[in-house]
Assembly symmetry: C2
Homo-oligomer: 286 residues x 2
C-alpha cells in the first residue's frame, strides 16, 4: 500500500505530517495526519496513539487546535489522526447534513445500501490504517493507544474495547456513550448505515453495551466531560458509561466532570496533556 506525503511542518521539535492514500476499505482517497516526535537516534521507535475526531471534522481540526504536539514530543508518542468519513464518493444525501454522510462516518462498517461500499470506518481504523503505520513508520510493535472526541470518543471506546490485542490504552473527550439512544445514532447514522437490526448490529458499536460485555484484560478509560457542553444530556450521556463500568470489574471509567467547559477544542486543549500522559503511562508499562 502506497502513501504520499501531502505536507510536513516542524512543530515542538517533531514533524506534523499529512499523508494521502487510496483506501481499499473505503474505496476512495483518504488523508490522515501523523505527528512524529523528534527522533533522538536513528533506531528510536515510538508508541502509536490514534486520535478519532468528531462530527464535521477532517484530519486538520485536531492538529491545528488541540496543541497535542508538545505532549506527544515530551511523551515520545507518534499520533495518527484519520479523517472522519470517506470523501468524494458522491452518494446521494452524503452532504445534506452535518451529522450524516461526509464528516459523520461514526466509525462503523455500514451494512445497508448505498452506504456499505464506502462507509467502513471501523475496518479502516482497525485494519487498513494500522497496517499502513506498521509498513511505513518507526513504531513499537503491538502497542497502540486510541482516543477521540465526541463521535470520535465513541469510536475510541468501542474500537478499543473490541480490539484489546491491538489497542492497549483508551481515553475520550465528551464521548457519545450510548449512541443507540442518542438522536445522532438512533435516528440517523445507526438507522441508515446499519438498518433496524438493533440487537446484533447496533450493540457492536455502542460503548455502554460494550463496557457491560467486555471480558478482556483490565482497562482503565479516562473520560473528560465539560459541564457546559450543549450536547451533554441529549447526546453524550456519560453516566451510562460510568454505570456500565460499575457492573463490570474489568473496566474502570474515570469520568471527570470539568466545571464550566463546553464541547469545543478549547476544552480539549485544556486537558490534552493528561490524556497523552495516560496513554504513555499504560503503553510504556504494557
Amino acid at each position: 500500500m502506497t502513501i504520499e506525503l501531502v505536507s510536513k511542518t516542524r512543530c515542538f521539535g517533531g514533524l506534523q505530517k499529512v499523508y494521502k492514500h487510496e483506501s481499499s476499505e473505503l474505496n476512495c482517497t483518504m488523508k490522515f495526519s501523523l505527528y512524529e516526535p523528534e527522533q533522538r537516534a536513528d533506531t528510536e521507535r515510538f508508541h502509536v496513539l490514534f486520535y478519532l475526531s468528531g462530527l464535521t471534522c477532517t484530519e486538520e481540526n485536531f492538529i491545528q487546535k488541540s496543541g497535542f504536539q508538545k505532549y506527544a514530543n515530551e511523551q515520545r508518542l507518534m499520533v495518527v489522526g484519520p479523517d472522519t468519513s470517506p470523501r468524494g464518493c458522491n452518494i446521494p444525501g452524503d452532504r445534506d447534513a452535518y451529522d450524516f454522510g461526509e464528516g459523520a462516518g461514526f466509525y462503523v462498517d455500514a451494512t445497508k445500501e448505498p452506504w456499505s461500499k464506502h462507509y467502513r470506518m471501523y475496518s479502516y481504523v482497525t485494519k487498513e490504517l494500522p497496517t499502513l503505520i506498521r509498513q511505513n513508520f518507526p513504531f513499537i510493535s503491538g502497542k497502540f493507544g486510541i482516543f477521540g472526541h465526541s463521535m470520535g470518543g465513541h469510536g475510541a471506546i468501542s474500537i478499543g474495547l473490541r480490539n484489546p490485542n491491538l489497542f492497549k490504552s483508551i481515553s475520550a473527550f465528551a464521548p457519545i456513550c450510548n449512541p443507540s439512544n442518542s438522536p445522532w445514532g438512533r435516528d440517523k447514522t445507526f438507522k441508515f448505515y446499519l438498518g433496524e437490526d438493533i440487537q446484533d448490529e447496533w450493540g457492536k458499536y455502542d460503548s455502554k453495551e460494550l463496557v457491560l460485555s467486555y471480558a478482556g484484560p483490565p482497562r482503565k478509560i479516562l473520560v473528560d466531560q465539560g459541564t457546559e457542553d450543549d450536547f451533554l444530556s441529549s447526546h453524550l450521556m456519560p453516566e451510562t458509561l460510568k454505570d456500565a463500568a460499575t457492573a463490570n470489574s474489568n473496566v474502570d471509567v474515570e469520568l471527570r466532570m470539568q466545571e464550566g467547559y463546553n464541547h469545543s477544542y478549547f476544552f480539549i486543549a485544556t486537558f490534552i496533556e493528561d490524556h497523552l500522559k495516560h496513554h504513555a503511562h499504560i503503553l510504556n508499562a504494557a
Copy 2:
C-alpha cells in the same frame, strides 16, 4: 463606548471571550478577542498583552491555533487580539487580494483616499482599544505589552517603539522588519494607504527605521524566526532589524533563528510559552 460579548468559552481555567463594538476610529463594527485568566480574588488585576495577527487573519486564528491560553493563565496575563483591518466598509478593491484591503490593515493610519476614512489600525490599536480595555476590564494601570506575527510582528515592533509609555514589552514571530523594502509594503499597502511620501510617512511604520531612531527607555525585543519560512528573504528580512539594533544601544533585539520551522501557527505554538514569559517578566518588573 459600549462593547458587546459575542462568545465566552472556558479554556485553561480562564475565559476566552470575543467582543464586538462600533469603532469610532475605523467607522465600522469591529471584533476583538480577550482572554481573562481565572481570577483568584475579586480584587485581582492583570497585566494586558496585545497580540496583532498577520495577513488574512481575523481575531479567531490566534485564539484557536496558538495555544497561548495555558501560558496566559500561568503568567497572569490578559491577552487582547484585535482583528487585522476594518470590515464591511465596501471600498472598491478591498477584497481582491489576500495582502491588501480586508485582512491587511498593516497597522497604519491611511492618509490616502479611499482608505483614510476606515484604514486607521494604528490609532485603533494605540488609542481606541486601550481605552476600551481600561474602561471595561480589571487591568493593571499603564503596563501593556505587545506582540504579533508577520504583519502583526511589524505592527507590534513599530507600535511598541513609538509608544514606549503605553507598551513596556515587545516581541514578535517572523515580523516584516523593513516593510518599506518588502513587496507587501512597498508595492501595495504602504504605496496605496500612505502614498508616495516615503520619507515622512513610510518611516513612521518601518520597524528597522524605528529601531535606528528610537530614543526611549531601553527595550529588549524577542524575535523568533523560522529558517524554513517561505517569506524569510523576500518579505521579512530580520537581519535588517538586528543590524539596526547593533547601531542603537537603547534597543536589544534577541533574534532566534529556529531551525526547520516555517511561517505557520505550528511555529508560533512551539515558541509562544517563551514570549508570554518574556512579557510577564518585563511587565512584572516595570
